[in-house]
Subunit: 599 residues, 2 copies
């Protein structure tokens, strides 16, 4: 949340307009992106939130002398109207009324439209460039960001400590990975790849950092060549002593600020350089154009290599899920007992208390580092908001008469977890059990799927939705996202969802499976496990379950389940009991036996 | 099939090379396309077959002095090697080794590569242009097709009679359709649309023709404007008298040959003209470029409008399916009785006899015009070839010990039908029943699907495949294609399949649902019905069944079916019996009652 002592929004916007006017700008493009295109940005980079008050994880503003046009996706339509109310703003759906269309309609000929070339990916830039073309406006890169100029108390750039990520967890040396990348570059007839994504760099160099909450990877840039060498642009003072002493031969250090100038020095005209057109700053492409390099805009090679986990990574991921599962099980037992008793005592458990409880239980697990994202701990109607977050001011009680949802995960030394469970403590609202049963059927449908090689995420999304469609229900979010290995909990490029995503699902990829159903103002339901993709004997692929956390059965309408659906959950719980019972207190064990009894 | 008295292939290729040499060409691009981009081409346009002997429905050749490189898709890999054997040819998979890549690898600098601009869509042209660019070869449009120059007995252009398609079947006048098209053009800020696809033109002008087998639509071209007027480029002598007298006001006739010159006269520089980049000749785009018109390459507006059938069209389609279903039922009864008895008598029913039988039964139905495609009548291992066709030389017996497959359809006055059934007469080969049961489950899964608006064909394809995937099986063809209204049996743009097809499935669209399973050399199984998309009360969409033909139940492993799967087929057969019994002979009725008894 933003500091409440901040200047008023009107004052900030007015200062920004003054700054724009001094620079001769009629409009300024203000995306939420930083230079690394991630979902989480450091306080230093929260320019969109600083100027507009919008705290969501994606979106952009176009600031003109007359208005601040805000563009956010379906998840944030309500939130943005709460956080950015009043006549200062106009509100738009980022997909239905894209910002470039708004610009084409609202810009005047000869308008000067400013942007920060480090914060706009090439694909975005191109859309704005076309829009400006149609109205004969011009796009102007700003040497310094105008928001920084009017932000007196802007937090400094993050300087999180960077340490080596040991081979026992990574399974492969950075040298091996870099040589393989070099081979990939050769195969693509490319000389270099430039990468700016923190998780790609952390993976390639076997390092971990702490520049941004929940994401154990540093902000830096790299230039990797077909000779297997990597130039790493990183603030030297971030490196911890042992890392500085153990930088491998193939990695050359350069200052963070030297990134663009060094590209000019190191890349010659005509050389072929790969960049990711969706996940890189357009400043890189502009630099390459200036050099006269040939640009190969492709989905990142490192993104693809990182997504397929090696056996060491997979073993680590399986292991940390066992620890995480103990925490989930203990949490579940605690929640089941405490919600009714504390409510009776007139001192109900709160949403924040619950998310702190699972954090505390995780902290007791070996290898736990931090949460992997901001938990969604949501009672009753709050759970219908897919990106609900508690705060000191927003912290509802969890009452026995209302369902509750927890979406939560951890960073462990050996991997990243992410799971969601839905809970009820007594009678449920009208329609809850019917929807909960459909969500379980949806979850089961995908968990048990077998599919041939060449299948992509958009092919199988509907298999998950069908049990909901049968009832005329649906959910307005993706079905599954990639998950990193002690890296980002939302990892590219694998994904299960409706949008076209031409990436083959491959053995070794890790994904979430998380169908849900949301009834505004009433309740939200989601069941989420992580899975790894495995190849079966006949060459077909399947999902191997990673997450072990009890799934509530009391809300299942058993007569609506098929025999397989009943057998699956009984077998799941049996495996869970076998695995966890030795690690649980006698009381929790007794609770678990009862809570996961066969249906 | 080709005339067996034709010149030898070697002689023809040698003549073509001589012709190319006279024109100074190093290579000639020879696609199967005619100027109308359809699946069926007239004998006049079978240039690829004339030169190479390849008789498949898609593919292309690149003829050079050294080789004839043949490019066909997965369906035709075997066939092309049979039909075009020997050292004259090299064989390539059209998707895995695209012809433009072959050209880029094999062409020499300064090569002159000829093509016929009426036979290459813009998207294909662009790929070849890029390939030529990379090797500094040049693409040269040929004023006349070099194949025509060496084809002494080339059949003449088809001159099939064109007649009016009555309002009682079309439901809307051509004027109404043209005004709606004009409104679409205005909305897209376009001045004109050029269309060369026979089914689009037949639909827009409410005419039907007979230039190509199975396809009741004429070869012609149109230029339609935002004023609602349509210029129709068509050979005058094709029009039947009553049509010539009833050409509506908004349609202006022009000679077929005047097409490109008239575009130059009627379109001014700067005007905006829509063309379909996949389904139009590049000659049109080149003419527009010459004029200086602005080209809007979009999926055809007429293609989209035609795909959503109006209520009159839908009623007609439903009606002709009842007639078609009577023919299927009578055929099924005949087949069940005749195959065993004739085999016993030592005079087994042949594949050709069976396809002639269903044709004869259809011919007895009111409103029947012709077959809608070349039936696939395939016994035993022949059914494993998805595009098998009988011929006088290739005509296997249907023996009681082998399964049999019939894929067949009709053109009726009120619509087009297409269905497939798989039959068995006695014991089945190992694995047949297991696969047949899975194919039925796959068919049932999609027939009963409900889905929200915005769903596209590639989203739901896997729902159909899943029952096969569960067993490690799959089929290597699409799951469903669009079907026209007394037009092409393969209609754009709706489709259910793995490839990305960004077209929303909409109420009023007609599609096939046709999963299958094929075991090379042994058997092929397919079950196919047509469906229309309907909107249900809660706003979800569903498939409404159109096809009524008994589905064999003796090969179903009933214990592998869910209750719903059993109920669905029982209800389907009950409806079929109720509808058809009054129209059947007592003997057929008795057979039907037994053959479709509840399982």
């Amino acid at each position: 949340m933003l500091d409440t002592t901040r200047r008023g929004t009107a004052e900030i916007i007015s200062a920004l307009r003054e700054e724009m006017s001094e620079r001769g700008l009629d409009a300024f493009l203000l995306p939420r992106f930083d230079a690394h295109q991630g979902e989480y940005v450091a306080p230093h980079d929260q320019r969109l939130a600083y100027v507009t008050g919008f705290s969501g994880s994606a979106g952009m503003a176009i600031v003109t002398a007359k208005t601040v046009a805000l563009f956010v996706d379906g998840r944030y339509q309500v939130q943005v109207r709460n956080e950015c109310a009043g006549p200062l703003f106009s509100h738009h759906h980022i997909f239905n009324e894209p910002p470039e269309c708004w610009l084409a309609e609202n810009a005047q000929p000869a308008w000067r439209v400013g942007y920060d070339a480090m914060h706009l990916p090439p694909s975005w830039f191109d859309r704005f460039a076309r829009a400006c073309d149609t109205v004969e406006a011009v796009l102007l890169a700003q040497d310094t960001n105008p928001v920084d100029a009017i932000w007196p108390d802007q937090p400094p750039l993050p300087m999180g400590r960077i340490s080596a990520f040991p081979l026992q967890y990574s399974g492969r040396t950075s040298k091996e990975k870099s040589l393989e990348l070099a081979a990939d570059l050769k195969r693509e007839s490319a000389d270099f790849i430039v990468d700016t994504q923190p998780d790609n760099i952390a993976w390639l160099l076997n390092v971990r950092g702490s520049d941004v909450a929940f994401n154990p990877m540093p902000h830096s840039f790299i230039l990797a060549g077909r000779d297997g060498r990597v130039v790493w642009f990183v603030a030297d003072k971030k490196l911890d002593v042992s890392l500085r002493e153990s930088i491998p031969d193939h990695v050359g250090l350069q200052p963070f600020e030297a990134f663009l100038p060094e590209l000019e020095t190191r890349i010659a005209a005509g050389q072929r350089v790969m960049i990711d057109p969706e996940f890189s700053p357009v400043a890189v492409r502009q630099t390459l154009e200036k050099i006269g390099a040939e640009i190969l805009p492709r989905k990142g090679l490192i993104t693809l290599a990182k997504a397929v986990k090696n056996v060491t990574e997979l073993q680590g991921i399986r292991n940390c899920h066992l620890d995480d599962g103990v925490a989930w099980t203990e949490f579940h037992a605690w929640l089941s007992a405490t919600v009714p008793s504390r409510a009776k005592a007139g001192n109900p458990v709160s949403e924040r208390e619950a998310e702190e409880k699972i954090l505390e239980l995780r902290q007791a697990r070996p290898g736990f580092i931090s949460e992997s994202f901001n938990s969604i701990s949501a009672a009753a109607g709050n759970a219908a908001m897919c990106h609900y977050a508690t705060s000191p001011e927003r912290n509802a009680p969890i009452l026995p008469e209302n369902p509750y949802l927890l979406d939560s995960g951890g960073q462990y030394e050996t991997g990243t977890t992410d799971a969601t469970r839905s809970y009820a403590f007594g009678p449920r609202p009208e329609g809850y059990d019917r929807a909960y049963t459909a969500v379980y059927k949806a979850f089961h449908a995908l968990m048990t799927l077998r599919f041939p090689k060449g299948t992509q995420g958009h092919h199988i999304d509907a298999i998950c939705r069908r049990p909901l469609w049968d009832l005329g229900l649906d959910y307005d979010h993706g079905t599954g996202h990639g998950v990193g290995h002690q890296l980002s909990v939302h990892e590219q490029p694998q994904r299960i969802g409706k949008p076209y995503n031409p990436v083959d699902l491959k053995p070794g990829m890790v994904l979430s499976i998380e169908p849900g159903y949301y009834e505004a103002g009433a309740f939200g339901i989601r069941i989420e496990n992580l899975v790894e993709i495995v190849e079966e004997n006949d060459g077909f692929l399947a999902f191997r379950n990673l997450t072990f956390a009890p799934i509530e059965t009391r809300m299942l309408l058993v007569d609506k389940l098929t025999a397989q659906e009943r057998q699956w959950i009984n077998a799941y719980h049996e495996e869970l009991r076998k695995t966890f019972s030795p690690h649980l207190s006698p009381a929790t064990r007794r609770w678990l036996d009862a809570a996961t009894a066969d249906i």
